[in-house]
Amino acid sequence: MAVLLIAEHNNKELKPFTLNAATAASQIDSDVHAVIIGQNSAEAVKQLSELPVVKKVFSVEGAHYENFTAENFAPVIVKLAENYSHIVCSANTFGKNLMPRIAAHLDTSQVSDIIKVISPDTFLRPIYAGNAFATIKSNDAKKCVTIRPTSFDPCESTGGSGEIEKIDASEEFSNTKFIKREEIKSDRPELGTARIVVSGGRGMQSGDNFKLITEIADKLGAAIGASRAAVDAGYISNDHQVGQTGKVVVPDLYIAIGISGAIQHLAGMKESKVIVAINKDGEAPIFSVADYGLEADLFEAIPQFMEELNKLNTIQK
């Protein structure tokens, strides 16, 4: 039986991590179908049908789907699930909110946040905030699996021509009402997908000092991250938080400035390809995961870092 992928989108376009989830789905079974639930989402539906790994697309629209409420989404997917062996979605807040609701309706034990498909019924997933990896075999007839998007490469986004089938809307769940969404807009790359992330911790000492981080991020075309300590201290808003309770990032370059490296922060960034740590405490745990460590006062090191970057003829963007 085939795999059913739940597409994440914003009604205008697919969210990038749908492509990573599609890759994971295709590693479970080459027969991948996808479902997209929304309102006025024609462009996103078209994008989904153009993913070469997706053979067929189910599209359903309705005003009660506009804000991605799990209570409205779950019945649609539960109904479709009959013909599928696996239901797959990204383990971001969209999928985390939605998938267990589907799994409970299907009476199946969900496998959350997998980082590797070992076989169609066996998966690798981090536990204890990534301090251990568990190999899990599911014995349920239907498997609900959420995938950690940064552990799978995005699939090709063009060239496919999956058939699109419109399906009927489910009834509205009237006990949950969407009120508002406050999205943090930024010209910078998104934290979850940026090639370079520059993060500050409690060592920054104030929100004003985060300007130093911003300057470097601008210079490198990087996203701005932060440790939970910096967020809790009010230096920066929590959508910048990297770690177990924030975002998991896997950039080519992660620069940790004034971050000691608590377990919960390391869980969110230690898979980065190259890690740089700048910290005045030479014993800080962050150095144990850093490829390049610089033991220095960050208020001296950051201006020097800018100076050195300015000397370079070219900087990769």
């Binding site: 804000n67 209570e71 609701r101 905030a129 190999t135 370079i196 100076e307």
Partner: protein
């Protein structure tokens, strides 16, 4: 309004996890255990709502082995009125726990069920959503702000894009984010008083729920270690290495 709060006993968040050599799990013997951190936020919020006069009773519940009762006792020490301990041994998957909680909800008839958004041991992030599916109740996951308004809650949720606000009718499930509040510490007199508060013990087997695991944990291993890096002497060397050795800038 009556609030049921589910709490879980996990390895303390400050403990460095050690994987057992035989690959069957992580070492839990002689390791400090505590209440799952966001479950503390869930208790705190319920107690605050009661203190504000908007709830009449806060009931703390845990599911697990005998020692799990410590988490209920701690909840009683910070303001919960009474406790329930559903006794069950062995691995309990979120699906099994949500089925047990469903039975307790049928019996206790709370207006709200609170719990942490995720347990820091298995990191599943499922139980609240599953319970709300089984009950066909609204769910407000990853809550960082809760306003109680008569028979409705306005909840601000932490989502990847920023913040989302929803309104849900009671009865409802709320899973709590660490940012929801600052859990209080139990004072010594309150710890003493909590010892006198009742905890009802129920055997999971008496609830008629199949809790047998559906998943097999084949192996638990240490994550691959990062290769030890180097310390650079100064910023110039760092930038040179990033440019010419790592080739990332």
């Amino acid at each position: 309004m009556k609030i049921l709060v589910a709490v879980k006993r996990v390895i303390d968040y400050n403990v460095q996890i050690r994987v057992k050599e035989d690959g069957t799990g992580v070492v839990t013997d002689n390791v400090k255990m505590s209440t799952n951190p966001p479950d503390d936020n869930a208790i705190e919020e319920a107690v605050k709502i009661k203190e504000a006069g908007k709830a009449t009773e806060v009931v703390a519940i845990t599911v697990g082995e005998q020692k799990a009762q410590e988490t209920v006792r701690k909840a009683l020490a910070v303001g919960a009125d009474r406790g329930i301990h559903v006794k069950a041994d062995g691995i309990l998957e979120p699906l099994a726990v949500s089925k047990i909680l469903q039975k307790i909800v049928d019996k206790e008839k709370p207006d709200l069920v609170f719990m942490g958004k995720q347990a820091i041991d298995d990191d599943c992030n499922q139980t609240g959503q599953m319970l709300s599916a089984l009950l066909n109740w609204p769910q407000a996951t990853f809550a960082s702000k809760i306003d109680v308004k008569d028979n409705k809650l306005e909840v601000t949720r932490e989502i990847d894009e920023g913040l989302e606000t929803i309104e849900i009718n009671v009865p409802a499930i709320v899973t709590c984010d660490l940012r929801l509040n600052e859990p209080r510490y139990a004072s010594l007199p309150n710890i003493m008083k909590a010892k006198k508060k009742p905890i009802e013990e129920i055997a999971a087997s008496d609830l008629g729920v199949d809790v047998s695991p559906r998943l097999e944990q084949l192996k638990v291993e240490e994550p691959p270690k990062r290769k030890a890096g180097i310390k650079v002497a100064n910023v110039a060397e760092l930038v040179q290495k990033l440019k010419n050795e790592a080739k990332v800038i």
